[in-house]
Symmetry: D2
Subunit: 376 residues, 4 copies
């Protein structure tokens, strides 16, 4: 191989032009990409670019996608270790390339050993400023928003990182259509109040105020995952909440018993298959409280509860929670929208929304948000 | 990371069930994947699979795509060296996975140092037979068939492996639609008679009878690239010839001067912009001879000349060549079909056919071939 | 012209096999088609078929579409008068043709002189039974459901029958996808409580219990438009209510003054542009009452409130109304679904949903109803 | 009905702004629309427009489509007789409407009694100039170009006018995409040399120099159908020849015996199913002669032979004929293009191309013609 002797080594702190997407700490040596859709973005000249990654995990390995000039050219598993990944080589040195390296897999609450870090860059080019896009959008959700099943054959049933995609995902598609920078806060199986299996600890609001509070283990704590999130540093124009699917699921699944306390948790069904009124009320209360919490931290954002990609049994309760919130607070900058349900034609792996379902959801959501952003 | 202690190491020669796609030599230790679309295919149980690759090049690095159960889950550059690539991990050990690892980049006649080899496998599963598909198709072509520009932004202009795709390619799409095993013989810039720039050495027929004769350098010779192709071992049902675009281009480009002999080569235009009759006749003669050569080596195949994805100025000459061939030989098992021209909506990188153009070509070609295969 | 001497004249009462779609009276001599989507359907052999229509109007002429074997072959204005319309001629006499003649225009509350009647048939064939489809669906709505603007250029602004279509309409598309017989009750500009311009008399519930009670004038009364509807004769499996768009519009338009009483009606906006709470409550009450009324008359039907094709500002109120209804009655056989909003790409004439918007709405609604019908 | 007392009666000769599409004679009192796609076009203000038609036939009735501002609003059979057809009513009188009334059915060589004439107009508006479109295109073809089967269910088998469409037709679609005025010369079953059943009199070239020479009977002769065509009055930029499908069919069908002379005609197959060389040569000669004839009459037009919508077995012969023509005449303004073959998904009634097949053909042809028109 012809060696490229012109490559220069850069610590991330050397590259002021580096743009980081997604919630993280102040640290850049190294930079931790916690959430799905988190990314580094560069405008760079030169013939060649490498990044040094550090991929750690006990169970669930991280994956990344690489976009050159907005086109995905590579998607790969990052096996354990610290090593260099070549992003491009052999290109015209005088032309500026826009490069995004995107984390394709969610923060893994189930794997305390999992972390993806970026240490350094190598290139023979020069770095240039990446402009902010006109809007900022934050997406909050569950497996749907994590892109679980958005890639892979319909027959796939394993719960593994390979079937997660941040790209074939309504979040990325909506952000692109809106010309928006965006962030994602999401966890498969979690809800506003409980997980799909009635675990009351598996809810997003509880950790929303931290950088990535749902991560566990000493390593992640040391990386700052539990630090308070600095909301002032990035105030979104829109917050999309796509939660409720697992809260709905909890009505259909067995009780969850807290292994520490022995206390039992269960969202109950009535004999006729409808939801028990008291338990739905608890969900509504949780949703209401989450809206309060979101508004506290995102003062100017339009908050839209976008729900329905895997059915919409919680929609009445969501509407009631939003009604109550708006009436009690006088806050009018909130809306609810139903996203297109997934069908046999649009389903992906693991009976989750496939790429086509994400595409339709993005179209619906984009249209809704355009109306709001262009009037505000 | 939790180590997987059950992984077993396999030389390729240990795995009788391994299916190899694409022309290559008998060697399996290692196996060389010469052409784009060449692949190894496995049916395998177990939780985890790795392959050991050996990627060599002076200039143009190989890329691969990985398909699990017919869905592309990964595409990556293979940087220089011999190392293990993890194909999957964490899967249900008792379920059989169909895995294809496909070479995404063409044989590189311009880089004598370029070779992609597969040395070994590691898995904790068992290998199972991969059935032959009902049909066999061979595709012969130029940059179109090599998938140049089938991936990447329209603005891309660099001639680099990153913009080549064996997957977003009418070859793979047609083979999938026909349920066919397939092979590809292709080279960017080359023709039936000359390259796009009048080089008479850059033609496919000259090397067709060798395994991968257009490769240069001692290494490739040692790997058996110049060995005679064993046609008996794989007799296609269909041979698709997608050549002529560069032969047409040669009329529009400057003369080529042989650096060794000083002899000049040029397909001439008349003053009115039409093709010089003598030079078109040379092309026709080359096309005629190639048909003779194809039939000699592929006795039962339907041969279809499929042309037109980047315009179709050579179509009259192709029809004349095929006419002459059919008349002189009495061989009726030949046809000509025009593929859909690439438009501003379907163009990809480097002003070559994009994914949409490949898709339309595949639809047209598939329909044509279904008619032929179902009647033969 | 060669005369067809074999044509026989049939009063509709002679043709027991005639299937009538849409609410109407018992009369068949003549038969009145009141609503859009109302139709006569025939299975008939023979070479030729004519129907005798009687088209009356002061202002708004009726239009019909003709479907042969489920394909629209003709659409035409019916100018004033009683005359024969040829449906087909020259066909193979021994083959059975399925024929539907569909009223393309809504009941015209603004034109007391408007009526479309069918008097008789002529054919040289024999009539055969038309089987009922497996499901029955009733659609209740406004201009959207009347197909206003579903045909015609986007530039069209005239309020004329030509721009109404019962065929390029989510009602027909949904019914076809579900293999359902269907009926439509709809009126442009009307709502659950008031019209778009605050007229409290222009609401569907007020007339729902009559055959076609919103028609005015002595002629229509004599035709039985004000007769009580015989609900027992046709009990739907699904009732789709697509109302609310005009009730929402009433908040944005000037007050309506009753010309007889001088009383003023107005759904009020608050200073901040939100809906006045008391007035929204009135709408909710009207929606609630309509659900009571619908259930009284349609005992077994799933009732779905399907709303959103021209925005969805009333959705919270609709959800509240349905919540209250379900809670107070214990009736669980009700749902709410948001239909895809109309976009610049899917808009039709008169800034109403175009064919593409109707198509998307039908896909969403069909998917929802399949889930319900296959579980009930 | 409220009478419109402002309607004024106009002979066609009174309306200088009337634009006539399609070959016809000089007569405007009445105007005869001979060919499919022939039309009258008007720009008109006013609330209302009527045309007086005179529809004559022994067997095959004419159909028309009405377009308002480029959208089809009506399609109807014209039963026998002379009567007024209302085109629109109730429109805004001050707005200009573009109106086209298009003959949907071909000239009927099999029905000497068939003629469609337009006698007069009635309107309360004013007529305005219709600008010529930037290009002129002439289409010459057979049943494909006549739109046979482009409307109707796939099960339809009757040969009747109802299944013909000038609108769901690649001719209209291509013309619209190119912004071209256009004419159609076409006849179901006919070819360059013979009909599908070997009748040597059923060929287009024989009648090409007359206005509509293939019509028979005294009436049509009196209407000027056999008059020489005045080519100077309308010189196209492009002539599209879509012939060959029936010439190909003649090889597969029984001989035709001239009832007058007893002479037998048959395009022969060889024992191996290939075409007899002498008979193909006759076809080539006929195609060659037709090109000579077309060029004589259309001096500046690009002539494109566009073939393949129902298979393309004659393509080699067409290429040979065009080759010979170009070589012998030096005329370079000629091309050949293969149109997309009809598939099980795009087929229409009577196993002819359906709307989707016409759409694809139009896309291919439009792309080809844009390249030519923008370079000439």
């Amino acid at each position: 191989m012809m060696e490229n002797n012109k490559l220069q080594h850069y610590a991330l702190t050397d590259v002021a032009q580096l743009k980081v997407h997604g919630r993280t700490t102040e640290s850049r040596s190294p930079l931790t990409l916690f959430w799905t859709g988190s990314a580094v973005e560069l405008n760079v000249t030169g013939t060649e670019l490498w990044i040094e990654v550090d991929s750690k995990y006990d169970v669930y390995e991280p994956w990344i996608s690489v976009l050159i000039n907005d086109v995905v050219v590579s998607r790969q598993m990052l096996v354990h270790g610290r090593y260099w990944v070549c992003i491009f080589r052999g290109m015209n040195e005088s032309v500026t390339k826009n490069v995004r390296i995107v984390k394709d897999t969610q923060a893994m609450s189930g794997d305390p050993g999992c972390a993806l870090q970026i240490n350094a860059l190598k290139s023979d080019g020069a770095f240039q400023l990446v402009e902010d896009r006109p809007y900022k959008v934050e997406f909050i959700g569950d497996s749907i928003t994590s892109g679980e099943g958005a890639i892979g054959a319909q027959a796939e049933e394993d719960w593994i990182p390979m079937w997660f995609s941040a790209i074939q995902n309504y979040t990325a598609m909506t952000a692109e259509a809106l010309h928006a920078d965006y962030r994602v806060i999401s966890q498969s199986g979690w809800g506003v109040m409980t997980s799909w299996d009635n675990n009351p600890n598996a809810n997003i609001p509880q950790y929303y105020d931290q950088v990535c509070g749902l991560l566990t283990g000493e390593m992640n704590e040391a990386l700052g995952a539990h630090n308070p999130q600095d909301f002032n540093a990035w105030q979104p124009d829109v917050v999309v909440v796509n939660l409720g699917s697992n809260d709905g699921g909890a009505f259909q699944t067995p009780e969850w018993i807290d292994p520490n306390t022995g206390v039992t948790y269960k969202q109950r069904l009535n004999a006729d298959g409808t939801y028990h009124e008291e338990d739905v009320a608890k969900f509504e209360q949780a949703a209401y409280q989450f809206l309060i919490q979101l508004r506290k931290n995102n003062t100017k954002a339009h908050i839209v509860w976008a729900y329905g990609m895997l059915g919409f049994p919680m929609m009445p309760a969501i509407y009631r929670a939003v009604d109550t919130y708006m009436k009690e607070t006088g806050d009018r900058n909130v809306s609810v929208i139903q996203l297109p349900n997934t069908t046999s034609e649009t389903v992906g792996a693991r009976t989750h929304p496939g790429m086509l379902s994400h595409k339709r959801a993005a179209e619906t959501l984009t249209e809704h948000l355009k109306g709001i952003l262009h009037h505000s």
